[in-house]
Structure formats: C-alpha cells, structure tokens
C-alpha cells in the first residue's frame, strides 16, 4: 500500500540578504495511515519548514519550493491550486503548533476559532459549528466546555490552549496531523497529558501523526518511525526502536545520549558541542563535520554524505558508510 | 446615515445660519464680501467701517447725505439751524417705527445722540451738544454750547444711529450692551442672523418708513479674511459686491472679471489717508529739518505709480485732497535728495543716523511695502532704517499708542468733516498716551491749536476754509506727518446691480435703493 503522505526529494530555498539559501535539501520521508512519524533535530534543522511545506504555508517570498513532490493519498500538493490547498489545510491535513500561547488569535473566543475551522470545511451553520466546537473542547478534556468556549485565549492556561489547538486541528477529522513541538512550551506534567491526548485522538480518529520534536523522550514515547534531520537534510531514518537502540549517525547518537534517564541520573549528560551552522555558510562537505568527533577523513569536508542503508537503517555519514564507526 | 445628515445639516446652519426662511421674493438677495470683521453691529459705540456697513442698514439716522455733500431728509424730514448756530431743530417723520414695532420718537433721538456723545470714540462729534430738548414726540432740539459745523455731518447714518431707548436705555453699559450684537433699529433692513466673524444676514424691513424701499429682500455680509478666497468668491459669483478694495492686486484682478464693474466712487467722506508719522518727541526727529529731509527723500509719485501700480492717489496734506477744505498751495516736498542731504547736514546729522520704522500688519501694499521702501530710500540720505515688524495689530497699536516708536506708517480716516477725523491728530490736548489715533506724534503748535479750535466753532464755510488753509500751511511746514497717499478704495460689483451706493459715505449708508436689474 502506498504511504498516506509521501515527501520526495523536497527542496526549499529562502532568499536572504546572504543570497539564496537552501533550507531543505532534497529530503524524503513518508508516513502511513495510523502511524506516528517522529521528526527530530535541533532548532533550525528544517523540521518546521518541512511541516510548513507540507501545509503549503512556506512564506513566499522569501521562501520557495524549488523542487520535489509532496503527495497526500496519491494527490500531488506542490503546484496544486490555492483553493484546493485551502480545502486540504485544516481538512485532510491539520497542524498543531509549538506555541499555544501565541497560536490562538487573541481577539476571538476559542469557541469561535474552532467553529471557524469547522465552517471552513463543513457545510454547517454557525450555531451548529459552535455546538460542535463545544463538544470538541469536551473531547480534548477541557472542563465546563460551554463556558470555556466563550473565553478568550488569554483567559486559558498554556495546557488548555494546546488542548484548544488540538481540538481545532482534529475538528475536521484530518488524515494527517502534524504536531510541531506541541509540548515544548508546556510544563512537564502537562506535556505527558498532551501526549496522552494525542495518542487517544489518534486512536479515535485514526489520523497519521507527524510529531516534530527535538525531544528524544517524546519520540520514544510516541513514534513508530523516526526521521532525524540536520541542517536541512534527513541524516537518518528508520523505526523508532532501531534508531533509539542503534543510532548510526554521530549526531543521532549525540541526540540519544542527551536523553536523561532515571537510571543514569548520576552520569553527566552529554552535550553535542557547537551549534547548527547557519545555512548560508554550509560548505560542500558534511554539515555536521565541524561538530563531529570523527571528521578526520577528507571526504567529510568536501562531499555531502548520502542517505544509505548500512544494515540497520539508512543514515547519511561517510564514517558509517566506511563502517569505521 | 441619519446622524450624518443631522451633523451636516447642523453644520450648515452654523456656518451661514440657514434657518427656515420663506422663499426669496422678487427683490432678491445681495451678498457683500468683506475682509473687515465687525465686533458688533452698533455704530453708536463703535467706530470703523466694519461696523458701519451693517449698522447703517439696521439703524436709521436723522439725516443722510448725497454724493454732493448735501444733507437729505431721513428720520428728520426737515431741520432748522438757528441764527446763532447754537441750536438745531429736527422735525422727525411720523411713520417711522423700530423693527420691534414701536414708533421712533424724539426721545429715542435724544437718547441716541447723548449715548453716542458719551461712548463713541470720536469725542469731537457731539462734544458741543449740551442737551436735547423734546418738545413733542416728533421734534428734537439739539442745544449746543458753541457753534458746531460738523454737527449735520455727524447726524449721518454712519455716525448717528438712532437706537430705541427702550432697548438700549435699560441701564447697561452701552459699550457692552448685548443688543449691540442683536440690534433693533429703524433702518431698511433687520438683523436676521449674526455669526460673529463669519456672516451677517439682514432681511428686508417690511415696515420701513420710506415708501417702496428697500428694494432688496436680503443682504448677506460674508466675512472672508483670506484675499485669495475672497477673490475666488467674487469671481465665481458667491459674492456680488466687494467694497473697500484696497490693493492693486485685487483691483486689477477683479477689473478683468467680465460680470463685475469697478468704481472709486463712494469713499469721499471716509478720507482714508496713508502716511508716515514722526515721533516729534524723539530727539532724532524733534528737528523739523530732519523731518523735512525725510520728506524730500521720499518719492510720492514712485509710491503711487510703481509700488501701488497707479491705483492710489497722492496726498499732500492732512485733509483729503478731494475735500473742499484742502489747500492746493501747501508744499509738496517733491523728491529732492540734494535738498534732503543739505537739511540733514544743517540739522547736524551729516553723518547720518539710524531710525526704526513700524507699520500696521495687514494692509501690506500700503504699509509694509512702504516701510521697506523707506528703508532703502532713506539710506540714500544716510539714514539707516530698521523695519520693526509687528506680529499683530495690538502689538503695533501698543507701540505707536504708547509713543514707543520713531517712524511709523499709519492709516487714518478723515471721517467727513475735519473736526471729526483731522483735528484729533494735531491738537496738543489730544496727546493721549496709550490711545491709538490720537496725537501720537506728540505734535504741539499753539497756532495750530488756535486755528483748529476756531474752525471747530465756525459755521461759516469760507471762514473755516481760511482757517484750515493756514493750518495746512503750518503743519505742512512743521511736518509732524508726511502724508503719502489716499487709499485706493474701490468697489467691485455685479454689473446687474443698480444704484450701487456711491454717495460720500458709500456703503456706510442705507442700501435701500440698491436693486437687481432684470
């Protein structure tokens, strides 16, 4: 069976004052029905751009989809007309954002905002949409939803707002739900509740979820499969278990080493030295080379490694390729 | 929508006082454009043309004047001057009523003249009036302490509005009486609406005591202070008449408008003089030779022909040249720079001096432009002149009235009879610090005082003429003032308008005969 959402060789560029910069460099990934794909990486690695590209929300200008394809259930989204895209957005593909504090419009009630999503995609009256919105608020676990629906965002806590966002996202039973760092801005206890909610939602609505996060803990809890991104490329991809157990790429290993585990609390957390290089300064070689402990070969600075399966699952590293690690 | 309409409607009402008026009948409406803002509409306690124009429509007066300086019956159908010149009997018409319906009686006339005597700034107009007897309702006898040749002229509409005693005689100060802004008179037009500083709307008085008058149904006086806006209003017919035009620009521009005609008639009694005043108390200007030198250095012809582009007429003396009292033989001080330098040297200022000159802000062509001209011209005889501009009229009036000046441009009106408008400038007992248009030059000459005082009580025209001739000779030599020109007052009016007022008082005269031709 063909995957529900399939991204192929997607290339996204941005015009900046340093010239045309490639934000996504031929990335490919897919997600199947009912599955959760985790996309991990540090900030600036292109996770969110991938999500926005999928939603057709790359700000243009300065952004531009230069190449590649995104197919939803066999329908090509790149180049689709804007009316069709609008229909899909919020309908078949929905998205939850990182910042629940700012992702809701401060001047409308939350009920109205959910109801708007409903009326945009379903042929129902405004009253009916509002009733549905209240029901959804109830569904995502907001107490006294009747009253809350008439509240403005600033009257709700962060966790509640994220629940509102989830309610809005699932209001039209999307096939794909993209959750972009849905818990980052929230307290740890609330984080767990949100993940539980997402799991429930997936169970009830059968949506595929793309969970974008930098938190490997969240991945281990939620994801079926994982794509690791770095500097605009997918550098490792595979099942969650496989990647968590046997990360290949030095960066992926670094990420996983960062997970605090109760059992290893006494050990100092490892940190990956350095930062993601600015996209406009990417050279010809591996983008991770400067931070990599194993960058001693010439190819590392002259040639971009390709994503190749070296046994466990595909990874893009010259070192792995040469089986030196 | 509704409120917009209300607002617009209300705004419209405010602007020009629409009020629900019956449709205009046959007489039609006349719009007069004016740059002069009247404080109120009662000429009995306020001098100046701004008030006089509406005041003479609203109030009738004992007499009115034709274009030949001859008195005509108005509220007084006849009048008698006693042999000794000490009493004047006015026989009033019997059918005159005020706008509120009450008849005009001799009581009202007596009250009005006494009120004017007390409150009008032109003290000399009725100063000799002692009492006014009212033997019956329609006879008033003015008793004088001395003969008063200007009396009949002072009974003109512009100077002697007859006020209803029952309105103005209620004990309030006439100068600040509320009725000054809502006057009741017996003139040809009644006040309909007065929006201070904006417009005055006058309606036909249906009970006017002169049969068949007034001809017009309505007079609107629109105050437009911006000259460009006023010209535009005249050009596109938003205004029909523009009297007291004082600049060459306006005269030449309106002269080219097809539906408008221009006249210089109607300003004889105003006698508007433009002059250079010397502060004779200033040490630099106390020497008559310096004043004469300055006079010789100024080219009066250049001013009237070039600076005023030929619209104004030269004026050589204190009495307007069109007046029968003007003396042709006085020295004219035609341009003579050598003579001027000699006089400067004689006075001990061979090395020159420096002076300041003030001017009235506003009438630029008459005042500022001449002040600037003096500056460049007087440099030729070694006088450095600093032009002291004033930001507003009160500032200028404060300086000149307070004797804080050296040279100043000034505009002063003759107001018909020299007793009213001329004496005040030269009498030594009218040196009145703080009061503008008194003898601010602080000129003192005993003979002048004698001559003027004699002329003020003589009712023999020839005798007066002789007295004024000598007076003019003296002041033209003493030169407390260098007279330059008379203002180029013109009237522009729609050519379809008939009987445009061209008498000696021009528009300061009832417009009861003005009408539209078919």
């Amino acid at each position: 069976m063909a995957p529900l959402l399939c991204i192929e060789k997607l290339r996204v560029t941005f015009r900046t004052r340093y010239g045309e910069v490639t934000a996504l460099d031929s990335i490919s990934m897919h997600v199947n029905e009912g599955e959760t794909l985790g996309v991990v990486g540090e900030s600036g690695c292109g996770k969110s751009i991938t999500a926005l590209a999928t939603m057709g929300l790359i700000p243009s200008p300065p952004g531009r989809i230069a190449d590649g394809s995104i197919q939803l259930a066999g329908e090509e989204l790149i180049g689709a007309n804007s009316a069709r895209l609008r229909k899909l957005r919020g309908g078949d593909i929905a998205m939850i954002f990182q910042e629940p504090m700012t992702s809701l419009n401060p001047v409308f009630t939350v009920g109205d905002q959910i109801a708007e999503a409903i009326t945009l995609h379903q042929n129902v009256s405004a009253d009916r949409a509002f009733t549905d919105a209240v029901a959804l608020l109830d569904r995502v676990g907001i107490p006294s939803p009747d009253r809350r629906a008439r509240d403005y965002p600033h009257q709700l806590s962060g966790g509640m707002r994220q629940r509102v966002m989830i309610a809005m996202a699932v209001s039209c039973r999307p096939k794909v739900l993209i959750a972009d760092e849905p818990t980052t801005a929230l307290d740890v206890t609330v984080q767990a509740q949100i993940f539980d909610l997402l799991n429930e939602i997936q169970r009830d609505f059968g949506a595929a979820i793309i969970l974008i996060t930098h938190d490997m803990g969240a991945i281990s809890e939620m994801a079926d499969r994982v794509a690791v991104m770095y500097a605009g490329r997918v550098i490792e991809e595979g099942s969650a278990d496989s990647i968590l157990d046997q990360p290949q790429h030095p960066y992926a290993r670094g990420l996983i080493d960062c997970i605090p585990t109760l059992g290893r609390a006494e050990r100092t957390l490892k940190e990956i030295p350095g930062v993601v290089p600015p996209l406009h300064l990417l050279g010809a070689g591996c983008a991770f080379a400067e931070r990599c402990a194993f960058n001693d070969r010439a190819r590392c600075t002259t040639e971009k490694p390709r994503l190749i399966d070296h046994g466990h699952h595909p990874a893009a590293c010259h070192g792995v390729e040469e089986s030196r690690l | 929508m509704n409120w917009t309409r209300c607002l617009l409607g209300a705004a419209g009402v405010t602007a020009l006082s629409i009020a629900t008026v019956p449709a205009i009948a046959d007489g039609g409406s006349l719009t007069i454009a004016s740059t002069n803002v009247p404080r109120h509409l009662n000429g009995a306690v306020q001098s100046g043309i701004a008030t006089a124009v509406p005041s003479t429509q609203i109030f009738a007066s004992p007499l009115r004047y034709d274009e030949n300086w001859d008195p005509q019956p108005y509220l007084a159908e006849s009048w008698d001057l006693s042999e000794d010149g000490l009493s004047v009997t006015l026989n009033l018409v019997e059918n005159a009523t005020f706008h509120d319906g009450t008849p005009v009686t001799s009581e009202d006339v007596a009250f009005s003249i006494m009120t004017i005597k007390e409150n009008h700034p032109f003290k000399s107009m009725f100063a000799p009036v002692e009492t006014i007897e009212t033997p019956d309702e329609h006879t008033a006898v003015i008793k004088l302490s001395q003969p008063h040749p200007a009396l009949l002229l002072a009974l003109s509409p512009a100077l002697a509005p007859v006020m209803p005693k029952h309105v103005f005689g209620d004990g309030q100060d006439p100068k600040t009486h509320p009725a000054n802004s809502a006057p009741v008179g017996s003139g040809p037009f009644m006040l309909e609406e007065f929006t201070a500083g904006e417009a005055i709307v006058l309606k036909r008085n249906p009970n006017f005591f002169m049969d068949g008058r007034p001809r017009l149904d309505e007079i609107i006086i629109r105050i437009i202070k911006d000259p460009s806006a006023l010209l535009i209003a005249m050009e596109n017919g938003d205004a029909d008449v523009y009297p007291f035009i004082g600049t060459s620009q306006e005269i030449s521009r309106l002269g080219e408008v097809e539906h408008l005609a221009l006249t210089t008639e109607g300003y004889a009694a105003v006698g508007p003089l433009n002059w250079l005043a010397f502060n004779t108390a200033s040490p630099k200007l106390s020497d008559v030779r310096v004043r004469q030198a300055i006079a010789y250095a100024i080219d009066r012809d250049f001013i009237t022909k070039a600076l005023h582009r030929g619209v104004s007429t030269p004026q050589r003396g204190p009495i307007i040249e069109s007046s029968p009292f003007f003396d042709e033989t006085i020295p004219a001080y035609d341009l003579d720079l050598d003579r001027a330098r000699e006089l400067m040297a004689e006075a001990g200022f061979a090395d020159g001096m420096s002076l300041t000159i003030d001017y009235i802000p506003g009438p630029k062509e008459q005042q500022q432009s001449l002040a600037e001209y003096m500056k460049s011209q007087l440099k030729k005889i070694g006088i450095e002149v600093e032009v002291r501009a004033a930001p507003d009229f009160p500032t200028w009036a404060g300086r000149v009235g307070g004797h804080d000046f050296e040279l100043s441009m000034d505009i002063v009106f003759n107001w018909g009879d020299p007793v009213i408008g001329v004496h005040r400038t030269y009498l030594s007992n009218n040196i009145n610090k703080g009061v503008i248009w008194s003898n601010t030059q602080q000129y003192r000459n005993e003979r002048v005082d004698e001559l003027l005082n004699a002329a003020a009580v003589s009712i023999d025209n020839d005798e007066r003429k002789a007295l004024y001739a000598e007076f003019q000779q003296i002041v033209a030599t003493d030169l407390p003032i260098y007279w330059i020109n008379s203002l180029p007052y013109h009237t522009a009016y729609d050519t379809k308008l008939e009987n445009v007022p061209t008498g000696i008082w021009g528009f300061m005269h009832p417009m009861d005969l003005v009408e539209w031709s078919e």
């Binding site: 340093y18 600015p278 406009h280 300064l281 | 911006d226 000259p227 460009s228 010209l231 535009i232 620009q249 521009r253 070039a306 802000p361 630029k364 062509e365 500022q368 432009s369 600037e372 001209y373 500056k375 460049s376 032009v387 002291r388 501009a389 004033a390 930001p391 507003d392 500032t395």
Partner: protein
C-alpha cells in the same frame, strides 16, 4: 564580507553605521540635508543683500531675470535671497526646539522610568496633561503671550512637544533598568545619577537618537506653521514667513509660496529619511518593516 561580519565582533555603533551606510534612502537624506545646510550656511556669501530688501518689481516670475532665478515676491524681494537666508532660522529653530524637547523629555522620562512609584505617577500625569493641550494652539498662545522671537518660538515648540519623548524615554528606561548590568552597577553602589546617565542612558540611546532626529523634523514643521500664521519672528526671514506673507497673492504668483514650501518639505523629508535609516540601523531585525 559576510564572513567578516559574522566572525568579527562589532560594536553596536559600528554595526549600526555599517547598516546605515548601505541604506540608500538614508544616504539620499544625508545628501539632501547636507546640500540644504550648506546652502543656508554659505548662501549669504552668494546673496549678500538683506532678504527683506526690495530689489525689483513685485511678482516677477521665476526664470525671467537672471538675478532673480526664483522670481520676486509681493514687495519685489528676491525669493532666492529669502530661500537662502530663510533656511538658517528655520533650521536653527528646528534644532533648538528639538534640543529643548529632548532635554525636557529625556530628563522627565528618565526620572519617571528610573524611580517609578509616585515620581513616575506624578510625572506621567503631568505628561498626560500636556498631551491634552493641542500642541499648535498651545504653542501659538505661548508665542503670542511672550512675543515672537526665535528663542520664544523654540521654547514654545519644546514645551509642547516633550511628552512623547518623555514617554519613550520612560519606556526605554523601564526596559533597560531591569538588565543585569544595571543591577550590577547598583550592586557596586553607584549613585542614582550615575546609573541614570552613565549606565542606562547609553543603552537606551538608540531609540532616543532616532526620536531626536524625527523631532527635528516635527519642530521644523512647527516653526513653519507658526511663521505661516504670522506668529514667527516678523523681523527674521524664514521659509514659513515667506509662505505666510505671500499667501494672499497665490492666485497671481505661485512661486513665492511654492519654493519655500518645497524647501521645508525637502528638509523634513531628508531628516525623516535619516531618522528611518537610523532606526533601521539600530534595529536590524526591524528592517523588513
């Protein structure tokens, strides 16, 4: 270029200058303003005469007589002479008024922002009070009462314009005073005055500099407005005075009004281009706006 920019740590001022000098509109502003300032400074060498002096027939159109390329006004005074000598007072009043505005505004704003509490409360009430008075009307009253001269005009403009500066300064102070180095300065026992002037003010300076620049523009417009109404110093030639004096004759002569108006416009235009440029330079992130 870009690498150097990234690698070499620059002082904020230098960084700002680097951005500023690449800002074309701002540079245009600098050029225009320089030309105008030079013209008003050295114009008197070209036209040595008094701009009030009558030198020719009134209302000579521009371009007819070589000596009076911009024509003459209603008195026959040279418009070029007025343009050259009228710029000085206009600019001087603008700059002085802006200075007064900044002194009052920054002082009060700094005190309010720094001290907070009742001082802040009181000063802000005063500020609001002054904002309630329509500025031009209030300035007109002040100028009339104390008789118009360049000094009284500059003071009047300053007195009516400071509230905005005070608010801005206060806001900046509130922002900056919470920063670590201020706390550090307090910790080492620096006196309040020192903290205000030596620590907070330099860090709050960029928006204030921008505001000062724009204030000059506003002050110039203000002076022009007052002069136009005849409330400028009547004995000093200024662009506003030229417009006000020649307004009566616009139907016959457009030039004595048009040229000084253009000069005022260009000056304020240049100043605001520079102000915008400075704003962009100090806030690189805001460049897109």
């Amino acid at each position: 270029m870009s690498e150097r920019a990234l690698n070499k740590a620059e002082s904020p001022a230098l960084e700002a200058w680097r951005i500023f000098r690449r800002n074309v509109p701002a540079l245009i502003g600098v050029v225009i303003l320089t030309v105008i300032v030079l013209a008003t400074l050295y114009g008197s060498f070209i036209y040595t005469g008094d701009a009030f002096e009558i030198v020719w027939a009134p209302h000579e159109p521009p371009g007819v007589t070589p000596d009076f390329p911009l024509g003459t006004d209603y008195l026959g005074r040279s418009v070029v002479a007025g343009m050259l000598t009228g710029g000085g007072p206009t600019l001087a009043v603008g700059a002085a008024a802006a200075a007064i505005t900044m002194v009052i505004g920054v002082t009060l704003g700094a005190l309010a922002g720094f001290h907070g509490g009742w001082v802040d409360n009181l000063l802000m009430r005063i500020t609001e009070f002054f904002q309630v008075l329509p500025a031009l009307l209030f300035a007109m009253v002040l100028v009339t009462l104390f008789s118009p001269s360049l000094l009284t005009i500059a003071i009047a403009i300053g007195v009516v314009s400071w509230p905005q500066t005070a608010r801005l300064t206060r806001a900046e102070f509130l922002k900056v005073k919470e920063l670590e180095y201020v706390t550090a300065a307090r910790a080492i026992g620096a006196r309040d005055a020192r903290i205000i002037w030596k620590v907070i003010l330099p860090n709050a300076a960029p928006p204030l500099i921008v505001s000062a620049t724009l204030t000059i523009g506003v002050a110039i417009l203000f002076e022009a407005g007052l002069s136009f109404l005849g409330l400028g110093d009547p004995n000093v030639m200024s662009w506003g005075l030229m417009i006000g004096a020649n307004r009566d004759y616009i139907l016959d002569a457009w030039w004595p009004v048009t040229f000084p108006g253009l000069a005022i416009f260009l000056t304020v235009f240049a100043v605001s281009l520079i102000g915008d440029g400075l704003n962009d330079a100090f806030n690189p992130k805001m460049r897109e706006r």
